[in-house]
Amino acid sequence: MSGVPIALAGELVAASLAAWRVGGVAACTADGAIVIERTRDSKTVRIEPKPDDSMFRWLVIVDGRPRPAVSLVAVLRQVRAALDADFAATRVRVSLAPLLVP
């Protein structure tokens, strides 16, 4: 297993669709994958855990093309890119000023 129970990953993917306001549904399948279907055009994305691959622990299949992903964060990035044409990732910037706490 990739380590993450598929139900937990499925819940994250479903919550992500809502957070990104991408119309669609995500469901866990009997064979242990997650399938997303976009509402407006039935475009599908399939997410499979890759239990035997210690480096690429997930496979994201978009339009029949499989793309490996190293982590759930990478999975989310690929799913968002596939379903949300307007998505432009924001890179974290780390403050140069020290955080001084109370």
Partner: protein, 342 residues
């Protein structure tokens, strides 16, 4: 990079006419701010606010070239650099800076400028964000002006003004503000009068091992409750986790938050129980996609060992944030376990 002598820069914001300048005038008469340099941003052809501040003229600078949030990187940072140069030359003595924004300013770019300017970072640190809200017109302003909601949402302290004119305790307004920002204590000023210590105690000042009450004040009441407070657009909530969080999980979590919803993450602050550092919790703080590196307390400030993170967001669902943290935590835990078994 040391924080020992960093000069706190506090931001005083609030919508037009909400009493910022009156408040500042009274604050500057108090000993806590007797050595403060003040930057006043006025939006309009003729600046008046700085004329209304009774203090040493050298330590008050008016920026009248436009709204601070729009020209922040050039004007504000340049002004701060100039102030520091004059201080270094002995021409000016101050140990704190207060920026009064224009009433139309979005405070987030101002906070970003303070957090990310390379040269400033060695000299200054972000202090309290104080937001004034007019008890008479505040509700209507919050309804009408998106920037006023953002000003309230990012505050460490909210100061209700003109309560004497409102004729009551402004209960509805208080509820409205709490929905925007349940983490910020609400205080009130009578004709601008309020104790400076009440506003600037929330400043991110020197780390202290006995910082329990200060940490709690900084996080606010919201940290104790995980339920959400809703405005039509802005949501504030706290996420509490009893178990420790692995450092890399926290990093990935913050990265994913910023990557997907950075613009809508108005403010995040928290104290986190890091698995690799059980005795020294991390304090985190971010404004949109800009995060401070965590600060590490010498020890836990109280017997409480839970991780508490307060979120003020524009429509980022709490459910997603929780699912993200939990799933990333589970994945990192599994990978760590696998690594250790090799």
């Amino acid at each position: 990079m040391t924080s020992a002598h960093a000069i706190p820069v506090s931001v005083l914001t609030g919508f037009l006419g909400s009493g910022k300048t009156t408040l500042l005038g009274h604050l500057l008469r108090q000993p806590e701010l007797s050595r403060a340099a003040v930057i006043i941003n006025e939006f309009g052809e003729i600046g008046l606010d700085h004329e209304l501040i009774a203090t040493s003229e050298d330590s008050v600078i008016a920026l009248t070239t436009g709204c601070l949030c729009c020209k922040v990187r050039s004007d504000l940072t340049q002004t701060l650099h100039d102030l520091l140069r004059r201080r270094d030359a002995g021409a000016l003595a101050f140990d704190r800076v207060v920026i009064e924004t224009s009433g139309l300013a979005d405070p987030a770019p101002i906070l970003h400028a303070l957090m990310t300017d390379v040269a400033l970072a060695e000299r200054v640190t972000l202090g309290s964000v104080v937001t004034t809200v007019d008890a008479v017109a505040g509700e209507a302003t919050l309804d009408r002006e998106a920037v006023s909601r953002k000003q309230a949402a990012v505050a460490d302290r909210i100061v209700l003004t003109k309560l004497d004119l409102a004729g009551g305790e402004a209960a509805a307004l208080r509820q409205r503000i709490a929905a925007l920002n349940s983490a910020a204590p609400m205080l009130h000023a009578v004709r601008g009068r309020i104790a400076a210590a009440d506003l600037f105690a929330a400043a991110l000042s020197e780390p202290r091992p006995d910082a329990g009450p200060q940490i709690d004040a900084w996080l606010g009441d919201a940290a104790a409750h995980s339920h959400a407070h809703h405005d039509a657009e802005l949501i504030s909530y706290a996420i509490v986790r009893a178990g420790p969080i692995q450092a890399v999980a926290l990093t990935l979590f913050l990265e994913a938050l910023a990557e997907h919803c950075g613009a809508d993450l108005l403010r995040l602050k928290g104290i986190v129980n890091i698995a690799e550092s059980p005795q020294r919790p991390a304090v985190i703080h971010g404004v949109q996609h800009v995060f401070h590196a965590p600060a590490w307390l010498e020890r836990w400030p109280s017997a409480e060992r839970t991780s508490r993170m307060v979120f003020i967001t524009r429509r980022i669902p709490q459910r997603w944030v929780e699912a993200l943290l939990d799933a990333i935590g589970a994945e990192v835990a599994c990978v760590s376990k696998k690594d250790s078994s090799w």
